[in-house]
Amino acid sequence: MGLQWWCSAQATPWSWSWRPYPGVWLFVIVLAVAFVLLARGSGDAGRRRGWAMAGLLTLWLALDWPIGALGGGYLASVHMLQYLLIALLAPALLLLGVPDIAWARLGESRALRVFRLITHPLVTLAVFQVVLVWTHLPAVVDSLMATQSGSFLIDVLWLTAGLLFWWPVIAPVPDRERFGPPLKMGYLFLATVLNTLPYAFLTFGETSYYGIFELAPPVGRISARQDQQIAGLLMKVGGGIILWTAITILWFRWYNRDAAAGDQPVAPPTS
């Protein structure tokens, strides 16, 4: 068996022997270099660097051996874990890691008009849901995960859709005054509701849907259907934990901001 550059389905039995995936390393290195370039001349690099590194680390863990290899063609549940890490967790951390100077540059750019359109919350939520559903359709998974380029496409789609999804919540640019904490919380809550359909499809399905995982050499004694049910539960519970954590943080920030505003001394009336 030759060297693989990206994790995808294999017809060979699973082995706990480490395998290199140079495409994954290159992908993460390119992103890391992009962050270094974005942070040039930034005074807040230290503060943001931690978030960016956490995002890159999450992405690397999700894409490389063993999670990437297991999710690439052995276990639907691990494939779902990859989805949570690549589409939900890593994008939020990466956006938090973008230095202020990069946001400022974007704010001054004429491309801002385009970004204002494609990062509109209705657009981002729709794109995220379409990608979520499309990349979990059995025919799409079975055809794309069979090749390294197809598997790469799914991962890139997840990351792109995740970045778009979190953009209105985290990114300060473009400024959306009316999209304050209550609407952001509502936006995230809607996402928790919308993933119910694929969750139910996977968890309560009467048969296993994905040939790529059903016909994969077995890992442990888990059946294909149990594996799929765990994948559905992970989508709902794992996704819920990430989204509700974000909702909770937003709520406390909103509460603290209002409380701080309420503590301000009231200016005496002027006659």
């Binding site: 491309a111 380029s149 890139v156 048969t207 016909l215 259907r225």
Partner: protein
């Protein structure tokens, strides 16, 4: 300059998504297409043999040590016959796991009218006890049989299957056994024989088993 960079980045992302989406939409696994074409043309997801030879008659040792007369003991049952070995890393456990999962999902009367018979192609390593405990991982009702390699090879040849081949052992003494990867299915009266190659999905078995079971009526 900055505007140009963003525009290039956006164009690259859009182009990648469009090209790859088009590729993803048009690709269907070949096995799926074949099974669906067969289902449209013949009504079966498996491959139905037009003039199958009679259900074979052979006696091998069952995992509990008693002799098992294949034709007599499977008469009146929808029977699935598979030649494999318990150290098999891929095809054998997938087939057994699929058949076990499918059997669990069938109505009780179809479960009772179905027998899965596993014949080892590796009698040196596969003792009756080992076959019994391995099959119990999937379904304790599955029947495991063993016999000499020469006898098992002759049964396979009589069914149109190639005899099994032992590859050279590795440094740990582990060796792979090359064997036919298809499951043979017989209707209860033995009149229909269907072949299920590796790649057959659980949904394919579920589609065909009621038809196979009804073929005796």
């Amino acid at each position: 300059m900055i505007q140009l960079r963003w525009a290039r980045l956006a164009a690259a992302v859009i182009a990648t998504v469009v090209v790859a989406s088009a590729a993803g939409c048009n690709v269907e696994p070949q096995e799926r297409r074949d099974a669906e074409i067969r289902a449209r043309e013949t009504g079966w997801r498996g491959i139905v043999l037009e003039n199958p030879p009679k259900k074979p008659s052979f006696v091998l040792e069952a995992a509990d040590g008693r002799p098992f007369d294949f034709r007599a003991e499977t008469d009146g049952y929808t029977t699935f016959l598979f030649f494999g070995y318990t150290s098999c890393p891929d095809v054998c456990p997938v087939h057994m796991a699929s058949l076990a999962a499918v059997r669990r999902d069938l109505p009780v009367e179809l479960q009772r009218s179905m027998k899965v018979v596993f014949v080892t192609t590796d009698p040196e390593r596969d003792t009756p006890e080992r076959i019994h405990s391995w099959l119990a991982n999937f379904d304790p009702d599955f029947v495991g049989l063993t016999g000499s390699k020469a006898v098992v090879d002759s049964i396979q040849l009589s069914l149109g299957l190639p005899p099994s081949i032992y590859e050279d052992p590795d440094e740990n003494g582990f060796y792979i056994v090359g064997h036919a990867s298809q499951v043979l299915a017989f209707s209860p009266d033995g009149s229909i024989r269907v072949i299920y190659p590796f790649g057959t999905r659980q949904s394919d078995w579920i589609h065909d088993i009621p038809k196979l079971a009804a073929a005796a009526d």
